[in-house]
Symmetry: C2
Subunit: 355 residues, 2 copies
């Protein structure tokens, strides 16, 4: 059976003041009445029912998740007692699912991305499942780059299409050559020019047995801690000795570093389905479809004179906003804070969260 | 005895959204806990006690004035039943004071200007009173221009100093040659270059008998309406037949047009006392002395990154403001409206008030 593990433990401050450590990005609604987490669940529901969806998160967020996903079984919320990056989270969920279904295949997905073409996305995800199940390979979905971007890691792949060599897939599948770090501008430009590079989206699909074997091979210490702490379903309950011991003893490391970069045989499927990691207020502005004639996007009544390209997001929907002669601003108001930032500087708003 | 008449009927929208028709500029506090009206009264109190100060206003503002000036006798608030510009207001107050003190001298003053050197101002005002009382001339105070300004009327004066011809005044006094309209840029530049031009501040000082004679000579129709409607103190009570008839019958005209431009013998005293008509949010920004190292002026806690020269005025003093990469903005929030405007465009905010 197919399962999904949604990673929802992020504490990002890129959407300050709307996002806070108490209410990070994945629980916020940007272009929809649904939060990014809710959208992530809705998106995969046609192929994976909620009882086979697991959420790995911080214990502080369990209440928000229960509220946002009332149909999710409570035991499907796995709470990390401390943040140890993504590899321990993945192994935790892997062990949990292994107890339920030894023959599971699993998609590990971020909770806070936006996808404008969910149907196309599901086709790619289904193809990735089929490939992972048939070939027993660690599989990832890479995003076809459409600009020179220094903010993401890249996946280099070998140009011969695995899908053309005898299987039934309609989607191309390539063998991964290397996972690379975030490049500088020249390197990013070169990657795009070479053509066989994709953005690393953090979406992984594999047979649950194959990823366990990969942990055993490439992260043996962590695997062995898991073997001695995570054996029965009670070990996964929030605050239990098993999960607590596991997180106390393992190193903090990403799944990319711990497994993907070391594994010999990884496959990648290129995806073109309107993916956006919604990394800043500027991304929110760009993704917003409802804009007025002067390209202002607002969630409250707006009176604009010579004002264009502004994003207005107010907590109090009853308030009116008037703009005169201003351009390219993010105007964000929460209950207790008003932020006004140049949209082009919006990646710097996290500095406010630390002050 | 000396009296003051403060013109406080303005309904200006230059401080939208803080100013509204219900609460115009003269009742707002900008650089002080006191409103501009309260400051105007405080400024002249050393020479004119409140029982000799009259306020001409719109009936809608009577309650605000009572609240802001609790020591003012209620009968000193004169309420226009309709707006007919300044000449009828002046004549109304003139007639009211004539009933109380036939030998009064009167200063007519705007309610909404700021003066940074009130002591110097009082010296000039005293000199103007002395001159008006001794010479029986209509007298005005002109502001020494310090920039090419197209937004004010100018007063041209004859260069021989009347004060040097035998009287006791320490302040220069000149004979007015002409009152001029707001000039274009070239004309304003020429006025400054010529040297014998002052800004028309709308402050007038005269013997109450002399101004009555001037109305009789230059505005005989209005004078005659007043003679038949405003004869006893009951005629001045809000809603009384006298005052209602008077305003219904007189034409709408400014004191400048009706009297000052026609009068043969008008004197002017140049004033240099830190006068500012506080005509826009930009003026408020410039007059504000308390600014941070990046020249931001705020009335709430401000966290600024690469943000300078901004004016922040929030109704809710408990709210925090964060600014990133923005410059020269007026950020004004009332209970129900947030306005963000380029300070240099702030003379245009009145457009919002009309929409």
């Amino acid at each position: 059976m197919r399962y999904a593990v949604i990673m929802a433990g992020g504490v990002g401050s890129r959407f300050w003041p709307a996002s806070t450590p108490e209410m990070p990005k994945q629980f916020l609604s940007f272009f929809s009445s649904q939060s990014l987490l809710q959208q992530t669940v809705e998106r995969i529901k046609p192929i994976i029912p909620t009882d086979r969806i697991f959420i790995v998160t911080n214990a502080n967020y369990a209440a928000i998740i229960k509220e946002q996903l009332p149909s999710l079984p409570i035991e499907n919320i796995l709470c990390e007692p401390q943040a140890k990056n993504t590899a321990p989270c993945v192994l935790l969920a892997t062990k949990k699912i292994a107890l339920i279904d030894p023959d599971a295949s699993v998609a590990v997905l971020p909770a806070d991305h936006y996808i404008s073409q969910p149907d196309v996305y599901l086709d790619v995800l289904n193809a990735a499942f089929e490939h992972a199940e048939q070939k027993g390979m660690l599989t990832t979905i890479g995003i076809q780059p459409h600009r020179v971007e220094m903010g993401y890691g890249y996946i280099k792949y070998q140009k011969n299409n695995l899908a053309s060599t005898g299987n039934e897939l309609t989607t191309s599948v390539y063998k991964v050559d290397a996972f690379t770090e975030k490049p500088n501008y020249d390197k990013a430009k070169q990657f795009i020019a070479e053509g066989n590079y994709l953005w690393n989206s953090g979406m992984f699909i594999w047979s649950n047995k194959v990823i366990q074997k990969a942990f055993e091979d490439y992260a043996p210490a962590m695997f062995s801690v898991a073997a001695s702490t995570l054996n029965k379903s009670e070990d996964f309950v929030t605050g239990a000795t098993g999960i607590t011991q596991f997180f106390a003893q393992v190193e903090s490391i990403s799944i990319d570093y711990a497994i993907m970069e070391k594994a010999e045989s990884v496959s990648v499927l290129p995806g073109v389905f309107g993916w956006n990691d919604v990394g800043s207020w500027q991304a929110v502005y760009e993704l917003e479809l409802e804009k007025d004639a002067a390209a202002n996007a607002t969630n409250v009544p707006l009176d604009a004179i010579d004002a264009k390209g502004n994003l207005v997001r107010l907590h109090n929907r009853g308030k009116k906003v008037a703009l005169l002669g201003v351009e390219g601003l993010a105007i964000i108001e929460t209950e207790d804070t008003l932020m006004i930032a140049k949209l082009e500087r919006s990646q710097d708003v996290k500095q406010f969260g630390h002050s």
